[in-house]
Symmetry: C2
Subunit: 333 residues, 2 copies
DNA sequence: TTCTTTAATGAAAACGTTTACATTTGTGAT
DNA sequence: ATCACAAATGTAAACGTTTTCATTAAAGAA
């Protein structure tokens, strides 16, 4: 592969001129420009980003630290974040942890070695933000920032959103409402998880409703855990008339499980989701759910991160975007 | 940030020893090892990957060139590919093109500048493989390699898979079968698209069936296009008894559209999918579909690519993995 | 022509590593 | 004590850029 010296030699100019050809061509004489242009074409030269990165001590990459990208909500958020990154000259480096601390640690080590200029955490573990703070590495938490933290973060108000959705169920006439909560890992609490349960409980309390303990079902945000929750529900002597699910995927699994047992949704039991992933509207029945502003979440988080990376002034580093309820057919009186 | 010189100075050794501390610690005396160890800890030193990359002229990244990652099939494949990459010391750099040629070109330029050591193309455009061949850049096509090409590729036999699924519909007693084909872009043909249509037609011919031209429906692999196809289907005077869909997402949308019009699936009309994405089994009704070996596809493609990157001998660079049919409830006699 | 100013170009340092090679130190044998 | 040999360590070049600063060339003014 030809390097800048080869081009300079062929064009009979210095390497500085070749460098300028790419960065500040207006500084070159037409003569030099032409010669370099020809040499570049002849040698099929492309500047080596590795060398540039070393010199500028910038990789141009942003690492996205995430447990799992197969959930459409996550992949949609990442897509939007990637768009923003591209728009500002950065690329997204995947850091998929599969809920594994050791894997996470490996990525953290990579970040320290400057493989990325900063990172976006879409999970709830402590280690990454601890590292970000200690090492002063540009960091933004997307979706899962604990309340007490002062680190940059972007998310919706999950408590309020869960409360609103539960209130909707109550307003539809439900009194016996179960909650299918999620949990990513046994090791650490996830704000998304606790907040949604909190909002659910707040709504019940506000309306003077109490919940039977066995109606607090435990899933893991997967459709399979929704099916399992249906099994539990079906085995109960007294069943709720509605189930508030902490995400769409569990709601979809739950509906699947209920239907397999011959129950009708929403006639026999209402089910609400959370996230409004793309397929929510195509489900049978279409899912009543909480819509998160996916595009804004991804965009805002990435722009915030890049502002931090580039040392731009950041006015507000903890963004709380607004949710909306989407009423479809999976819930009714 | 401390660099290798700082560590060497503090530990009173040469930078070579510090370098060896990380790469070949067994070469060091216990004495030197201890001093360096202490210095590294004190200075919180982490080797700079940018410098190492430049020297070794390797980025340790693999770019995944893909139109869209929000389809679960794609994100699942990428997840598996990423696992394989991690296992071999590489990271995945996202190159999401959104079906945009200009964006694709930008990524290609990045690859040429050595931001990645090679790339995995999950789309059908010509430009990337042309570049790979001309510039001798490690390349593997995953899912979308045209037949005549000799470039490394990994995919299933889409013609056979589509034929098998269509045959299944025929075996279930269907004679009036429509096809909902996909299309990613008007600009270029996608092998996946043409192959699946080809397989569909082969099965019809083999069984002496002819298809009404209006039953060849055109979608774009999105659920929305499935809904649209349902609309078209419903407006026809004569309707098919089954629809072979080129992917699960369109099948899901199609079913949604049919149900909205009061039709029952599969009683009134059977619908088959393709890919067996994770939610296919949770759909209502659960989708009869073609299962692709997602994990193997991702793994094999990434390992093949890295073998090429590392100059390892490659025995077979065009892998055709096997599919299976998954019969669930969206089809019946 | 000579001087001044601006435009164009070049020389060289710097980024932080790895590694081939040279050198020093250590060990055991004589 | 001397030597041979291995083990440990150090020196310095190299990777391919960007950029500062100095220098040269060109252009305009006197």
């Amino acid at each position: 592969m030809a390097n800048i010296n080869d081009v300079a030699r062929l064009a009979d100019v210095s390497i500085a001129s070749v460098s300028r050809y790419f960065s500040k061509p207006e500084l070159l004489s037409k003569r030099a420009y032409g010669r370099i242009s020809a040499a570049v074409a002849e040698l099929n030269y492309h500047p080596n980003a590795l060398a540039r990165n070393l010199l500028k001590s910038r990789s141009g990459n942003v690492m996205v630290l995430v447990n799992d990208i197969t959930n459409p909500f996550i992949s949609q958020v990442i897509t939007e974040a990637d768009k923003a990154a591209q728009a500002r000259g950065y690329s997204v480096l995947l850091g998929i942890t599969h809920h594994c601390a050791a894997t996470e640690e490996k990525y953290i080590e990579q970040i320290r070695s400057k493989v990325a200029d900063g990172f976006l955490q879409l999970s709830a573990t402590q280690r990454p933000r601890q590292m970000a703070r200690e090492q002063c590495i540009p960091y933004v938490n997307l979706l899962e920032c604990p309340h007490e933290h002062d680190l940059p973060s972007v998310q919706i108000d999950n408590v309020a959103a869960a409360r609103d959705m539960t209130q909707l169920l109550i307003d539809q006439g439900h009194r016996d409402i179960a909650c299918l909560k999620g949990q990513f890992s046994d090791d650490y609490p996830s704000p998304v998880t606790t907040d949604r349960v909190e909002g659910f409980c707040q709504a019940l309390n506000k309306n003077g409703l109490t919940m039977r303990p066995e109606w607090m079902l435990q899933g893991d945000y997967s459709p399979a855990s929704g099916v399992e929750a249906a099994r539990q529900l079906l085995s109960m002597s007294r069943r709720p008339s509605a189930v508030f699910c902490a995400n769409d995927y569990m709601a979809i699994g739950l509906i699947r499980g209920l239907k397999d047992a011959g129950l009708r949704v929403p006639q026999d039991i209402s089910v609400s989701g959370f996230d409004d992933v793309d397929i929510a509207r195509y489900n049978n029945p279409p899912l009543t759910t909480v819509s998160q502003p996916i595009d804004q979440l991804g965009r805002a988080a990435m722009h915030l991160l890049i502002d931090i990376i580039e040392g731009l002034p950041v006015t507000n580093n903890t963004l709380r975007l607004s949710h909306t309820l989407v009423v479809r057919d999976s819930t009714q009186n």
